[in-house]
Symmetry: C2
Subunit: 339 residues, 2 copies
């Protein structure tokens, strides 16, 4: 009997974060008797008078949204990070260490149309979203106390998204959070050892193999990472070294918008449901330094496992040991590619 | 304005895993319009003819459960880890590294009574569960290829638990998974530097402060870690250095059973619902070495945030940056202590 990825339990290494995923391909046939997710009813209305994000409506903090035409950005009325706090540091022995954290939380409405999601917007409209990200990244990086900008999107009720109006968020802060910091450490040592950006080197290797590539256009590739954790996890990454949105040309931004749109259209058709996910961009910190080691990339973590109502639970073993998946990355890529 | 934990955004450091949690106490007042969890209907029946775990029933693999009286352990019919695989290693450049992983997945029925959960069992019955853990840990550690044993419990539909029959799991394997490995690295350097077990030193420090202590008995403490991530996350840890279940006396096991019971009774009364969580024990690897640096401790990760139907979503920012919480650890401990 020969060891095979398609049949036998194995661990795969993630060199971006120095972590492992347990792959159990033989387990795909397991019956499921547990919780079924609700399928969110499609919101057919283009304008909801109760929505905090629709144009012209009054938000929870009392402000009135402008009559915006494409994207609209405002500071979150209940931001987890705020600017106006005193700074303080607390250290007491080996176990009690804490530090104040300043930051800014923003909301980006992707479209005035309450009923649309990214895959339902036009290429031009998604391009506007990407341009808004760049503008925000540049603006926030001007602020001295902002060293990292996390752009992300939670889509779907199952992802804790409390409003179906198409929107994303930006949390910008003093510290570099754990996930991008892990990547930064590994990107730095790769850059020092190989003289190359790790993301670019990885994209080249995947394009060579092609089995995990889902889609590509002129400047970007959509792929299922070799070490993917979520059943249909994907990454959008550039074919050449780009450290952050700040460095992106209009052409590159249009390519990213196209990849984002194509991928989310594929996602929606996978289980014929508005496909939930958390997605976000990891890129160079805004600490005023040049970061040649950094490669911008966008990741998608969708929870659905085998239908619109059966999701993968990252619980028990996953919380206490490491992530576990049944479907291999190669199979997932094949399914997404063929859609 | 003075910086205060109760009011201002801050980051806390977790020295067990070298990670951070973003605390946003000012955000507790945020309104919630998102997904509501279902409240699982209480299963009043002591025996369910359809249940794979009830005594005398036939499991999905065809085997018949014995007519067991307290606990019952069997090998999972759909284990993510199995014994009978060929070994193999795959390495291709910098990005494609994988290795076969042998292991054993077991299920532990906590009681023959389908309708009971841990907080509804007697002290004697929970003591039986702890003794079963020890027996399994010892038995698995005899196997040459098993270097780590993860004991855990997923409770509740919202935690992906597909069967309400009271049960836990054991996944035992060749490698030490990511979470315990991170702890091992930090425990080792602490032990080398301070000549003391990190868990024991931490418990002492928390007993001194007392504000995060929820409950204690002769040998064990229940506390909310300073760096807790989940709203009502807790840890059960011994007052003296104990590296694993293998080293525990009957008295200590009875103390652990009592702490486990008292904590879960508190949890059930918090929102007057059968309280969902993932829980598990981190302890010394079973690699044949003595692990004086290791301190056994049990952790509880419950998802509920502010009622039986509103849970904390670890999505978006949490997946891409680091975990975030609103309620402080001190407040959570106070609430649990006073129940
Ligand atoms: O083994 P179960 O209870 O069927 O499955 C549950 O626990 C496992 C271990 O934590 C997880 O991998 C699964 O995602 C979850 O649904
Ligand atoms: O900010 P929202 O959409 O209200 O909240 C959602 O996203 C946040 C950032 O990922 C999470 O911290 C919350 O748990 C989640 O419910």
């Amino acid at each position: 009997m020969k060891f095979s990825f398609e049949e036998h339990s194995h661990r795969r290494f993630n060199p971006f974060t120095d972590s492992y995923v347990q792959v159990s391909p033989h387990r795909s046939k397991r019956p499921w008797q547990g919780q079924q997710e609700r399928v969110a009813k499609s919101e057919a209305i283009a304008y909801d008078p109760e929505c905090f994000l629709c144009p012209g409506n009054t938000r929870v903090g009392g402000e009135v949204n402008p009559d915006y035409k494409n994207t609209f950005v405002f500071t979150n009325d209940f931001g987890a990070l705020t600017q106006d706090i005193p700074s303080g540091e607390y250290e007491d022995g080996d176990f009690f260490k804490a530090k104040s954290e300043r930051g800014i939380c923003k909301v980006i409405c992707f479209s005035p149309d309450h009923s649309k999601t990214i895959p339902q917007l036009s290429q031009e409209e998604v391009f506007e979203v990407v341009k808004t990200w760049k503008r925000e990244y540049l603006e926030l990086s001007q602020l001295d106390f902002i060293n990292y900008v996390q752009i992300f999107e939670n889509k779907g009720e199952v992802m804790g998204c409390s409003n179906p109006h198409p929107h994303g968020q930006i949390w910008a802060q003093e510290s570099i959070p754990d996930e991008p910091l892990k990547k930064q450490l590994n990107f730095t040592s790769f850059f020092l050892n190989k003289g190359e950006n790790m993301v670019t080197a990885y994209v080249k290797a995947e394009l060579n193999k092609s089995e995990r590539v889902v889609y590509q256009n002129e400047h970007f590739v959509v792929l299922v990472p070799f070490w993917a954790v979520w059943p249909f996890e994907t990454m959008i990454a550039p074919k050449t070294a780009i450290s952050s949105l700040a460095k992106m040309s209009d052409e590159e931004m249009a390519s990213l918008a196209d990849a984002y749109r194509v991928l989310t259209i594929k996602y929606d058709s996978l289980f014929e449901v508005s496909f939930p996910y958390s997605a976000g961009i990891h890129q160079a910190p805004t600490d005023g330094q040049d970061h040649p080691e950094w490669g911008l990339h966008m990741v998608f973590y969708p929870p659905l496992l085998r239908s619109a109502t059966v999701k993968k639970f990252m619980v028990g073993y996953e919380m206490l040991a490491n992530p576990q998946r049944d479907l291999t990355a190669e199979k997932a890529a094949g399914i997404l590619r063929d859609l």
